[in-house]
């Protein structure tokens, strides 16, 4: 299926513009392995994320948070169920279409940063932004300014602190200006103070209109989210909605 093809049953066509979901999971399930080694990482979950929402996924280790993110991000297809992002059904995309989808639609922030050690902060940002033709220096600098690292643009990852590295990774994810930002434990490898810094950055990006899906172990992050999704054993246990999420500056860990 071509990435541009829009499935007819997209909710966006029926709902109002503001209410068109950014992400929809419909009975999405993921099973790894076969036979004895079969693992049900996700057991058919339904989830709708609205544009501009910040949704936090909480849950113990192995509960399927990363798996859910992988499905939304087009990293892996679901075993059953459907995944619709921005009104486009990506469920049956082949590898090539998924690559194009990831390139245009999603920004990833990884737990372990995954910065290229031989590129400077700025070059790391440009590396990914170049994919969508937004790799010019100004735009990349702007992304670094967004995360407050303009003055470290020419530093290599090894010369940056963990929090700074994670902020470079965030800048890398937002430089290509994706509508959807997926963060897998963005503060997991960081200490309290740096973690908070990253949190503030994420909140600012969200307030600027981006849709965020953030996975974490840490319940404290939930305080700044519009919605908190709790998972266990591949299922969504509860969903808590707040109309007035807290400010990252006031979060206590």
């Amino acid at each position: 299926m071509k990435p541009s093809a829009r499935p007819a049953q997209t909710d966006a066509s029926t709902a109002g513009d503001d209410a068109a979901p950014a992400v929809e999971l419909l009975g999405a399930a993921k099973t790894y392995g076969t036979g004895h080694a079969e693992v049900h990482a996700l057991r058919g979950v339904d989830l709708t994320v609205l544009p501009g929402e910040m949704v936090v996924l909480l849950g113990p280790s192995g509960s399927g948070k990363t798996t859910l993110l992988n499905l939304v991000g087009g990293i892996e297809p679901p075993t059953t169920g459907r995944v619709v992002v921005g009104g486009r059904e990506i469920t049956d995309f082949d590898e090539k279409a998924r690559t194009t989808y990831r390139r245009g639609t999603v920004g990833f922030v990884f737990q372990f940063f995954n910065l290229v050690p031989t590129l400077t902060a700025l070059e790391n940002v440009r590396l990914v932004a170049e994919l969508t033709g937004r790799g010019d220096r100004e735009r990349a600098m702007h992304a670094l300014e967004d995360v407050g690292l303009a003055d470290r643009a020419d530093h290599f990852p090894a010369q940056l602190s963990g929090g700074e590295q994670q902020r470079v990774a965030i800048a890398r994810a937002i430089a290509k200006d994706p509508p959807l930002l997926l963060c897998d434990e963005p503060t997991g490898a960081l200490d309290l103070e740096t973690g908070l810094g990253v949190l503030r950055t994420l909140q600012r990006l969200n307030r600027a209109g981006r849709t965020l899906l953030v996975v974490t172990h840490n319940a404290a992050i939930a305080a700044i989210a519009h919605r908190v999704v709790r998972m266990r054993s591949g299922e969504i246990v509860t969903v808590t909605t707040t109309d007035t999420p807290g400010d990252a500056d006031e979060v206590t860990w």
Partner: protein, 797 residues
């Protein structure tokens, strides 16, 4: 420049030593290819230029009615020029009294002959007004220190005739001073060529005693048109048939001309090297590339996952790592091509200087350059392909997972070993450390072993060749030829003169020998060689059976060099006919074959020689000395006896052969060096990858109190284990490779039976172990620098 390109270039500089090892291997392979291939082509071109310039004969017809042959040959299509001349062998005496086998070749005194012209290197050409003036061939001139106005004597008509040297010359026929095809390794001071006025040459040849009619020219030389030369074998055959109708004894095409045939062997050697070297080194380079890149891909998995998750396409990732291999290949091949060009010129010049060829053509060939570049690029790309494909298959999910141990736990060889042999569980932890490394990455271990094997092959081939050549010489001069000297007499070797020689103090035994040039014929096949007549109970010659034993000289029938089994297509019991130079034929039964290192001869008893040719007289004697006698004193004593006109010292022959091997030692030294470098680079690459990969494990061990020294010992033990495993197959394959390489040189002129001393195996193995220990030093030093902090931080980056 895109950030991706920048990443590529900067990644090259990360851990540059490993990539440099790859570059070095490619460069060496390409350089050696260029050097040997271009040397081969330079030599070929030089010789051909010489042949063109001096009109080197395409065909030489010996014996028969030369004038009649010449007249008829001139009418044949494809023949450009025909000439006749007289060539005769006769003893030659130098001013200091030393004698050698001389060859006089007739030249017109009025100017250069149309074929086989000479290059006057000093002095001047023959002069019609100076009847006793001759030209000395440059090798003879060098050895005997002859120059303008030196005097020499030749044995003509029963007396020594003095001659004056007018000049020294080089000849296309004697670029390599081989007396005959059977005698391509003449000792300096045993053979020399003089170019003399044609009339003098005819005088030396003298009337054939039997017919006593004609003292005309005895050789016809033929020069082809370029078109005919391109397809020479057809014209060769046609002219040979023509010549045989006129009673010619031997027809020698250019390829079989003794000097040319010998030099062709060397050229062939270069040609073989031009294949062997690049194959060994580019294979090694391929292995190293694979090992190094595989490690890089494993290290970069999370980054590759990130790139894929961010939307980089598979083929972008594939191209990224493929380019790394290509760049290494490119760098290596550019360096290699440059080195190769320089080396080819040097090798050609050194070689040609050593031989004394009057003309050197060194040129840079686009085909070699392009070939070298292609070799390097293909080696780089091919060996990068597998790791690059693996990289492109890294799933994007890898980026989400953080640090993933790159080992497949539990499925390895060791796990199985542990299950099968429960006792192994009681092995100390150190043993596990040593064993686990090699079993963790079976493919890398395999490639390390292949590296060890390749290095051993290279080392053993060179060393084994040296051993074999030595053993071959020993066989020839200790086993086969038992005489200490061979004498040429001016009279039949009858009882009187043999008794006289036996009476010289220091002489242990004397035997007569007859040596007659013949052509053997069986069916349509012919072979020119010498018929050697010896006493049936001779103690001067041992006849080695091809099966390994010895056999006596039969009273009837002929013993043939084993090469003739194929070259003539005959077997024991078959009849062969032999034709003497004067054309008289005779038939003999093949009594068996002898396996001799140098030359391919026909041996019969003296009685049979007399029966075959009533005019044949033994005019040679073989002499063996008492143990401990002084060779120089014996030479003086024997040459002063009446009737002795020439003297050939076996010891001198042997020394000459060993001198000849001087070049060989240099060659072997260079090969050993290259073998060492190959071993070093391959082992360096794999061992440093090995250490780098386990940096966390090793740093953790260090952090938990294991001393650096103990770790170094464990890593060393592991590496030694790896190398030791490769040694046996390496030695075996090395032996086979030596055998294959040497057998490429096996001809009717020289036969090598691969013979490598046990010590050589041991030393080669030791050399590889030492090189391995050296190659792991950088890795061990890196051990000392590892600390857990940096290792983990790098991972996080």
């Amino acid at each position: 420049m895109t950030a991706l390109t920048r990443k590529l270039l900067r990644d090259l500089r990360r851990g540059p030593a490993q990539l440099l090892a790859v570059v070095a291997l490619v460069a060496l392979g390409v350089a050696l290819y260029g050097a040997s291939y271009d040397a081969y082509r330079n030599l070929d071109a030089s010789y051909n230029a010489i042949f063109d310039r001096y009109h080197f004969a395409d065909l030489t017809i010996v014996g028969g009615d030369a004038p009649a042959i010449a007249t008829e040959v001139a009418t044949i299509d494809g023949v450009a020029t025909v000439a006749t001349r007289t060539v005769a062998d006769t003893p030659l005496r130098l001013a200091d009294g030393k004698t050698l086998t001389g060859r006089v070749i007739g030249l017109p005194t009025t100017g250069q002959p149309p074929i086989n012209q000479v290059e006057v290197e000093s002095g001047s050409y023959l002069d019609p007004s100076r009847a006793g003036g001759v030209l000395a061939e440059s090798h003879l001139a060098d050895q005997a220190d002859l120059s303008e106005d030196s005097t020499v004597e030749i044995w003509v008509g029963g007396t020594w005739q003095p001659l004056t040297v007018l000049g020294t010359v080089a000849s296309p026929e004697y670029l390599w001073p081989a007396a005959s095809r059977q005698d391509v390794l003449p000792a300096p001071g045993t053979f020399g060529v003089l170019f003399v006025p044609e009339s003098l040459a005819r005088q030396v040849l003298g009337p054939e005693p039997a017919e006593a009619t004609q003292t005309g020219p005895n050789e016809v030389t033929v020069y082809y048109t370029p078109a005919a030369r391109d397809d020479a074998s057809e014209l060769d055959a046609r002219l040979a048939a023509l010549a045989q109708r006129h009673g010619a004894a031997d027809v020698v095409p250019r390829d079989d001309q003794p000097s040319n045939a010998t030099l062709a062997l060397d050229i062939k050697g270069f040609e073989e090297l031009a294949i062997m070297f690049p194959v060994l080194f580019l294979t090694a380079a391929g292995l190293a590339t694979y090992v190094v890149l595989t490690r890089r891909v494993a290290r970069d998995r999370a980054i590759i996952g990130m790139m894929r998750a961010s939307g980089f396409r598979r083929r972008t990732v594939l191209g990224h790592y493929l380019t790394t291999g290509l760049l290494c290949g490119l760098a290596g091949s550019v360096i290699g091509v440059l080195l190769g060009i320089a080396a080819a010129g040097t090798v050609t010049r050194l070689y040609i200087e050593a031989i004394g060829v009057p003309l050197t053509l060194v040129s840079i060939r686009a085909s070699t350059v392009l070939g070298g570049l292609a070799f390097g690029l293909v080696a780089g790309a091919l060996s990068a392909l597998a790791p690059a494909l693996a990289a492109s298959r890294v799933p994007p999910a890898e980026a989400m997972r953080g640090v993933v141990p790159s080992t497949r736990g539990g499925r390895g060889l060791l796990a199985r070993l542990e299950r099968w042999i429960p006792a192994t569980r009681r092995l100390p932890a150190a043993a596990w450390f040593v064993l686990r490394g090699p079993t963790r990455h079976p493919r890398r271990t395999l490639y390390t072993e292949i590296g060890v094997v390749l290095a051993l092959v290279l080392i053993l081939v060179s060393w084994g060749m040296l051993d074999t050549v030595r053993a071959t010489m020993a066989r020839q001069y200790d086993q086969v030829q038992r005489q200490d000297a061979q004498l040429v007499l001016d009279r039949p070797a009858d009882a009187a003169i043999l008794d006289d020689l036996a009476g010289v103090p220091g002489v242990a035994a004397v035997e007569p020998i007859t040596e007659r040039p013949i052509t053997l014929e069986a069916g349509s096949k012919t072979y020119a060689t010498a018929l050697l007549g010896l006493r049936p109970d001779t103690t001067m010659h041992t006849f080695l059976d091809p099966d390994g034993g010895t056999r006596p000289l039969p009273a009837t029938g002929v013993l043939l060099g084993t090469a003739l089994r194929e070259d003539l297509g005959v077997n024991s019991g078959d009849r062969v006919s032999l034709r003497f130079l004067d054309g008289s034929p005779a038939d003999l039964t093949v009594a068996g074959f002898v396996d001799e290192p140098l030359g391919t001869f026909a041996y019969v008893s003296l009685d049979q020689v007399r029966a075959l040719d009533a005019t044949a007289r033994s005019t040679g004697a073989l002499v063996r000395f008492d143990p401990g006698t002084d060779a120089e004193a014996m030479r003086r004593a024997l040459t002063s006896r009446p009737g002795v006109v020439a003297y050939e010292d076996t010891e001198a022959l042997r020394r000459a052969a060993e001198d000849f091997m001087g070049l060989f030692y240099v060659f072997v030294g260079v090969m050993l060096l290259f073998g060492g470098m190959l071993a070093f680079t391959v082992l360096f690459a794999t061992m440093s990858v090995n250490v780098a990969e386990r940096s966390v494990e090793i740093a953790t061990l260090r952090a938990s109190g294991v001393s650096q020294r103990r770790l170094a010992r464990l890593v060393t033990a592991e590496n030694l284990l790896l190398v030791t495993v490769g040694i046996l197959p390496g030695l075996g394959l090395g032996w086979l490779a030596t055998d294959a390489y040497l057998s490429a040189f096996n001809t009717d002129l020289m036969r090598f039976a691969t013979d490598i001393r046990p010590g050589t195996f041991a030393w080669s193995a030791l050399a590889v172990v030492v090189v391995a220990l050296l190659a792991q030093l950088p890795g061990l030093r890196a051990l000392g620098r590892l600390d857990l902090g940096t290792v983990v931080r790098e991972r996080a980056g």
